[in-house]
Each structure stands twice: as C-alpha cells, then as structure tokens.
C-alpha cells in the first residue's frame, strides 16, 4: 500500500436488516471527511448502499473494502453466499429473486446491480454458485 492510499474494511452480516446500510454510511462519512466532491461521494454512496443491501438480503456475511487513491475510489465487496447463477440475467433491470420480506424493506425490485453500474465508472462482478459473489466498483476522481 502506498502512502497516498487509504484503505478501510467494513464487515457486513447477512440478514441483519437493522444495521443494513451502516457500512455505506461509514464510507460516505469517510469520503466527506476527506473533502471529496459531493457528486462523487453521492455516486459512491449509492453504489455502496445497493451492494450492501444485496449482501444483507442474500449472503451470510461479507466485507466491503474502501480504497481511496489520488485517482479513484474503489469498493471491493466480497460475500459468502448462494452466488448468482446467471449474471447477465441479474443485470437486467427488473429481474429479481427477492422474497416478500425483502420487498417490504423497499428493496428487491431488480434495480440494485443496474443502479450500481449506473453510478460507477468501472464495475466488475464475479460469482460462484454456493460460494459467493464479488463486486469491484470504481469511481474516478476526474
């Protein structure tokens, strides 16, 4: 890790709906304290929040690692969970496997992954069924 790099990891627990969103809130507060542009912070925060809600709704546990360099902000999300059998299908707006309980929270409408992609400059998703899913989301400073 270079001196110009900030790294912080947040643990996220699956099905903990009371605390869902705390990691993303922490990420947003950290970026605000760094004095980054509000437009960039909002994009990162929305992408992080969607990813965190997905993790809480579907996975057993996971981590969200915030990495800030002079050039970009990256969030690496790794979870232990059921994985995604068909990523292309999951990326389609409106496709969802959410339960009624998840929908009662106001999520699970099949907009999460497309909204992450919309708010980031680079977005990579990999998944293994019955193992877990990994997202790497990057927003450039300029």
């Amino acid at each position: 890790m270079s001196d110009a790099e900030f790294v912080h990891a947040y643990d996220v627990v699956g099905a903990d709906f009371t605390n869902a969103g705390r990691a993303s809130t922490g990420i947003k507060e950290t970026l605000k304290h760094m004095g980054l542009p509000s437009t960039l912070i909002r994009r990162v925060a929305i992408a992080a929040y969607e990813a965190e809600m997905n993790l809480v709704m579907y996975a057993r546990r996971g981590t969200m690692t915030l990495r800030v360099t002079p050039n970009d902000v990256t969030i690496d999300v790794r979870d232990e969970g059921p994985g995604i059998p068909d990523i292309a299908l999951a990326m389609q707006e409106g496709y969802s496997t959410a339960t009624p309980e998840m929908r009662e929270l106001g999520f699970g409408a099949g907009m999460g992954l497309p909204n992450i992609k919309r708010n980031t400059d680079d977005f990579m998703i990999t998944s293994q069924v019955d193992r877990g899913t990994s997202l790497v989301m990057t927003v450039h400073m300029s």
Partner: protein, 141 residues
C-alpha cells in the same frame, strides 16, 4: 415506479435561490406534522414519490423530498445516502421511535401526513411544478 417533480418547472435551472421551496412549504402543503426537523433544514429542489427505495436511488436528486408510504429505517438511510432534503411519511402511518431516532442521528428531517400518498404527491407536484423562480420569501420549517 416512482415519480418526480422539480422546482421551477421541469428543469432544475429554473429554481433560483429566491424561488427555492422551504420545508415549511412542504409541511403546509401536505398538512404535515414535523417529527424531527433541525433549524438549519436544507432547501427543497424537487420531490420524489415512491415506496421502492431502489427507485428513489435512481430517480431522486440531491435536495429532493421523498414522499412514501413505506415506514422503516431503510427509508431514512436511503434519504441520507441520496442527500435528500426530507422525508414525508404519508397515509397517517405510525412512525416508530427507532425511525425518528435514526433520522435525528443522520440529520434527515421527517414529517408525518394523514394524506394518502397520491394526495400528498399531487399537492407537492402542484406546489413544485408551478412555482415560478423568485416567488415568495423563504420560511423556516
């Protein structure tokens, strides 16, 4: 699906500082009660009405007021993440203490209204969509 309206007609450019809505305007329009609102409440740039928080994250812009029939802590977290000006809980639903406590903690003004979501959204649409730039002094919520 959510619906949005912005101040100063259909474009953000029309909302000059003197024409910006206050939360007092919003509260009056929906016959609302302030459950928590700080003295330095932000100005309102538009309105979004939705029960799906993912739709809010797609459609809302900073400074929007969220009108919703959904009542839980995720509404407050969504409002904070998306830099919304306030939340109006419609349909007269009881708002639990943990929701109000989180709103206070995250500095998100919250109001309760007995109007239906349709009625509240309609009144705010009329207020926001027809408000000319430069109209009226700002009031405190």
């Amino acid at each position: 699906m959510s619906r949005t309206a912005e101040t100063g007609g259909k474009t953000r450019a029309g909302a000059g500082p003197a024409g910006v809505l206050s939360l007092a305007d919003v509260r009056a329009a929906v016959n609302g009660v302030a459950l928590w609102c700080p003295d330095d409440a932000p100005a309102v740039t538009g309105v979004v009405a939705a029960d799906l928080m993912s739709d809010v994250l797609v459609d809302a812009r900073p400074g929007f007021v969220l009108v919703t029939g959904l009542v839980n802590v995720q509404v407050i977290r969504t409002a904070a993440i998306a830099d919304l000006a306030a939340v109006v809980f419609a349909r007269g639903k009881a708002v639990p203490d943990d929701v109000i406590d989180l709103a206070r903690q995250m500095n998100v003004p919250v109001f309760a209204s007995h109007e239906s979501l349709f009625e509240a959204a309609g009144r705010l649409y009329a207020l926001v969509g027809n408000r000319p730039a430069g109209a009226g002094p700002r009031r405190q919520a």
